[in-house]
């Protein structure tokens, strides 16, 4: 079984939400900033397939606690149990995926698409839940909880212990019907106890009673003894699973959750939908990676897995097809995929997922053109700490690598997924001008240099001589005196040797520019560590920069953006 669409109205923090899942998705990893309503989304799915007749909803489950607007959840599923296909069940209600429920649009099945059913849960002010199968062609038809039991949905949430004991709502009930067995076991056990109970200490009252009987005319035949009275009851809530003498409920949370997941999947092989809130909960990174790969493997019996996470380990383990960003603004929740139609952009984002998964878990991103910029921003972070007394993390800001030519598109996608983004990139390619303009029109600030400068060129142009001296030293330390001096000579830049270092004095603008170009072309700082070092030196000299210099302006504006000042952006 798999979910193809979900529509939610007025449930907790979600006023309105309509998400379509790709038809072939097996694993969907939901990420999003805190309070982005991810968990409510999972809750909605759990409710709409609820297998019993009672579901307790309260006033606070309604959006803004307003019970006048009913809670409505519509889940569309494919590959559901065959029994529901019968003519007198829901055979006449079949639909195809991705069609809105509006009682007008034609929604009959097509041969090349999976057969779907849509189930609707509605709860109005009376708090009475009502489950119906709906389609655009007919009046809704009730679906009983007996039929709903056929949906294999497992929710792994906070109440794990229930799955490791034989309670009424435990997943174990799908494996064996424990009620009769437990009742019988209980009755036998209690009778044994009653038989063996030694209450002889109470027998002292025997003689007194016989005496009273004789005096008052009650013929007591036998010797009076005290015995246990057996009353009815059940053991269901107190029968748990044990590993030897150790109850499973005392194992670590991670282990308990893993067992529960396995039990849920095993109860309906190939069909189960698993809803896992915070998949990383209680799990070490290696067990987490193992789990996700197990879900994905060929021999896995799972139907579909929907999980939420705050863990970069989990995100890194997923592919771009599997990650959905959940984003909530003013009650409207959207779920967007990072995948687009452009394979180059997809590759860039996929690489980002693998190497810098953390960035997807931030709310705000500086999309950098390459490693140099990323290093530079690291230095920038230190700069903010020392000058403004706060770090980027405090403002929820992280960096993302745009991988050169895909920088603008990456930024665009991230923006569309709800991240607050800005771009830091060079101005050396004319072809990028159009893209930059589009980004700005979208409201994405683009921080770049005077045309046609790169970062290196702009810095070399604007920074004071002493700083130039220091940054050249970085290159010398990294690549050796010979290589760097050779390049300087080739460019016709005057320098003197000073104890194995290079000393420069009085450079013209062209010479500065040439140095910058050389640095760029020869990749002197094209590594995060080198870029960071470079940036540190540049930034430590900020005050020495002219106030109208581009370098200073960009740094100031970037700081403003991070700080969320009103005049941020160019």
């Amino acid at each position: 079984m798999r979910i193809t669409d979900i529509e939610i109205q007025n449930l907790r923090g979600i006023r309105e939400c309509h998400i379509t899942f790709p038809l072939d998705s097996r694993i969907i990893c939901l990420i999003g900033a805190g309070d982005s309503t991810k968990s409510t989304l999972l809750k909605a799915i759990e409710w709409v397939f609820w297998p019993t007749w009672n579901l307790t909803a309260t006033d606070t489950d309604f959006y803004k606690s307003n019970t006048e607007n009913p809670i409505i959840i519509r889940g569309t599923i494919a590959e559901f149990p065959e029994k529901l296909l019968a003519e007198d069940k829901f055979g006449m209600y079949l639909r195809r995926p991705g069609v809105k429920y509006d009682r007008t649009t034609e929604d009959e099945p097509k041969d090349d698409l999976p057969l779907c059913l849509t189930i609707q849960l509605s709860i109005d002010g009376s708090l009475e839940p009502k489950w119906e199968i709906i389609c655009n062609r007919q009046e809704p038809r009730n679906i009983s909880h007996v039929d709903r039991k056929q949906f294999s949905i497992g929710a792994i949430g906070s109440n794990i212990a229930k799955d490791l004991a034989w309670g009424k709502y435990s997943v174990l009930q799908k494996y064996a019907d424990s009620k009769g067995i437990l009742n019988e076991a209980y009755t036998i056990a209690v009778r044994e106890v009653a038989k063996k109970a030694d209450l002889s200490a109470l027998d002292s009252v025997s003689a007194t009673l016989s005496d009273i009987g004789r005096k008052y005319g009650v013929d007591l035949g036998n010797e009076i003894k005290s015995r246990l009275l057996i009353q009815g009851g059940s053991l269901a809530s107190t029968v748990g699973l044990f590993d030897g003498d150790a109850p499973l409920s005392q194992f670590g949370i991670g282990s308990q959750r893993l067992l529960s997941m396995g039990l849920n999947i095993g109860a309906a092989p190939g069909e189960a939908i698993l809803l896992i809130d915070e998949v990383e909960n209680g799990l070490e990174p290696f067990r987490l990676r193992n789990l996700i790969n197990e879900f994905r493997s060929e021999r896995s019996a799972a139907g579909q897995i929907l999980m939420t996470t705050h863990s970069s380990v989990a995100v890194a383990e997923c592919s771009i097809d599997e990650i959905m960003v959940i984003h909530s603004v003013d009650g409207k929740t959207d779920g967007l995929f990072l995948k687009s139609d452009n394979p180059k952009v997809n590759n860039a984002i996929q690489a980002q997922i693998r190497h810098n998964a953390e960035s997807f878990l931030s709310r705000r991103l500086i999309v950098c053109e390459g490693s140099t910029e990323i290093g530079f921003i690291r230095a920038f972070d230190g700069f903010l700490a020392s000058t403004k007394n706060y770090r980027m993390a405090f403002k929820g800001v992280s960096t993302a690598d745009g991988h050169g030519e895909t920088t603008c598109q990456c930024a665009g996608i991230l923006h569309d997924c709800g991240y607050d983004v800005c771009i830091l990139m060079d101005s050396d390619k004319n072809t990028e001008d159009d893209k930059k303009r589009q980004m700005r029109e979208k409201g994405i600030p683009v921080f770049d240099w005077d045309k046609p400068n790169t970062l290196e060129e702009q810095c070399f142009l604007d920074m004071p001589l002493s700083a130039i001296q220091e940054v050249i030293q970085i290159a010398v330390d990294e690549y050796g005196y010979a290589q760097i001096s050779g390049k300087l000579s080739a460019e016709g830049i005057p320098f003197t040797e000073d104890n194995g270092s290079i000393a420069v004095s009085d450079l013209t603008e062209e010479q500065r520019k040439a140095l910058g170009t050389a640095a760029k072309n020869k990749c002197w700082y094209k590594r995060i560590g080198l870029g960071e070092h470079f940036g540190k030196i540049v930034l430590s000299n900020v005050d020495a920069l002219a106030t109208d210099s581009t370098l200073r302006k960009v740094i100031t504006n970037l700081a403003d953006w991070v700080l969320n000042n009103e005049e941020a952006g160019t």
Partner: protein, 475 residues
């Protein structure tokens, strides 16, 4: 049915069983339902057929989860409405307006079902609902029905029962399915003429025997049948000598008597000649009902009264002659009946009802005619249906014409008139029914199949009105 026969039928994906009239076809179907595992979809053509099957299934105590019964039309309509896009059904059409639109309305569902079940997913729904399909009265299926069942046989076993010798329902442009080219293998089943076992076994056996003589008609060949007396069970009488009144004594021992003839005009004429004895068996598309319902709706005043009188003259004898004076006055647009002496109270009645609501007025008038002993009504069904239409129109706020269409066509509103002792009818209307005595008028010859259907309506006695007892029957 014998076990081997059931096994032979169920061993194949499709099967056809030929079941002659009165040979226990309904029992066979119940046997099949009982024998089969799972739930069978039972389909037949008419609601009367559904009722007959349901009765027998209840009688045999067959559990309700072993079957679902429906008419073919209802089945196709249900599916067509549920998936109108895929079956290309136009839900704006209505069967209640024009005859032409009604024909298009019904035929679109048969074509639609065939189209719908080309899709595998639709077949899957059926497979999850039933384990087999059984169709009754297959000889009444037309080609589109047959094509649909051929498509359905891809998903579920289809078993059909019928009697090709009773295939008389050819529509104008729709050919009945050709039993020689069914595509379903015929399974032989032993049967005996159960229907006549108590009333007249010799007759039953004879009617079975003559099938061989009549069978060539199915190939398009004429055949000659020499009628035998069957111990007095069958009498051949010259139509010019035939006199109903001389048989009235004999009729006393019969519960029901049926007169069958070829044409509607003869059917009506027979009633006229024997008023108060034979009632007219009305067809479903009762044109007189619709015609007069429409004019009652549209007319008022003197015109309405004229229409009422004309309607009544169609239902009963002597109306025209008794009320000539009234019709003359009314034709002149006058309500002045002061000079008329004959049937004076009618004049009074007309006067009174002018003041009241039209529905009540019409009902009052119809009631007067019904109670008047001068008029012998031979179309009690028509009269009664008109009263029902007027009442329905009054109660539901629709025109009398619309009401007539509804009560006549809506299966939930239809009323069956089965209480008449002597009925004048045609084979098309009487199929499936049984009468103690049947009079078959061959002065206008019936076809071989029509004749067979006519013969098999009789339980005890048959009168064949023919000059010769050797009949040449055309296919």
């Amino acid at each position: 049915m014998k076990k081997q026969e059931l096994e032979a039928i169920f061993a194949q994906q499709t099967a056809a069983v030929i079941a002659p009239a009165g040979h226990g076809k309904t029992e066979m179907i119940v046997d099949m339902v009982e024998y089969a595992g799972g739930r069978q979809l039972l389909l037949t053509h008419t609601h009367a057929g559904v009722d007959a099957l349901q009765k027998r299934l209840n009688h045999r105590g067959i559990s309700k989860d072993k079957y679902t019964i429906s008419t073919i039309a209802a089945f196709c309509t249900k599916w067509g409405m549920a998936y109108c896009h895929t079956s290309a059904v136009d839900t704006a059409l209505s069967p209640y307006r024009t005859k032409d639109e009604a024909r298009r309305y019904y035929s679109q569902f048969y074509d639609g079902a065939k189209q719908l079940f080309q899709h595998n997913w639709a077949g899957r729904i059926l497979q999850n609902s039933y384990s087999g399909i059984i169709v009754d009265e297959y000889q009444d299926c037309i080609q589109p029905h047959h094509e649909m069942f051929m498509v359905l046989s891809q998903y579920l076993p289809v078993r059909v029962l019928g009697d090709p010798l009773q295939g008389i329902f050819s529509f104008d442009d729709q050919q009945l399915v050709d039993w020689n080219r069914l595509g379903f293998p015929v399974v032989k089943v032993d049967t005996s003429p159960w229907r006549w076992s108590e009333s007249n076994p010799a007759l039953g056996q004879y009617l079975n025997d003559i099938r061989n003589t009549l069978w060539p008609a199915l190939m398009g060949h004429p055949c000659t049948l020499d009628i035998e007396s069957c111990n007095g069970g069958i009498c051949v009488i010259d139509p010019q000598i035939f006199n109903v009144y001389s048989l009235l004594g004999e009729f006393r021992q019969y519960k029901t008597v049926l007169y069958l003839t070829k044409w509607e005009a003869q059917q009506t004429n027979f009633c006229l000649r024997h008023p108060n004895i034979f009632q007219l068996d009305e067809k479903q598309e009762c044109e007189d009902l619709f015609k007069y319902a429409d004019s009652f709706s549209n007319k008022s005043g003197t015109d309405l009264m004229l229409e009422i009188i004309e309607f009544e003259s169609k239902c009963s004898t002597k109306v025209k002659s008794e009320l000539t004076s009234f019709t003359n006055r009314l034709a002149k647009g006058s309500f002045d009946f002061g000079h008329i002496k004959k049937n004076m109270e009618f004049g009074q009645l007309i006067g009174e009802i002018q003041a009241i609501d039209k529905h009540e007025a019409v009902l009052c008038a119809l009631d007067w005619f019904e109670k008047n002993p001068n008029f012998k009504c031979y179309r009690k069904e028509l009269h009664s249906e008109m009263i029902r239409s007027v009442k329905y129109s009054r109660d539901h706020g629709i025109s009398i014409y619309e009401a007539a269409v509804h009560i006549r066509k809506d299966p939930t509103l239809q009323k069956r008139y089965q209480g008449f002792k002597c009925l004048s009818s045609r084979t098309l209307l009487s199929k499936g029914l049984e009468f103690d005595c049947v009079i078959i008028d061959m002065s206008t010859p019936l076809t071989a199949k029509e004749f067979y259907v006519a013969l098999t309506r009789a339980m005890k006695k048959i009168y064949v009105l023919s000059q010769s007892s050797s009949l040449t029957l055309n296919p």
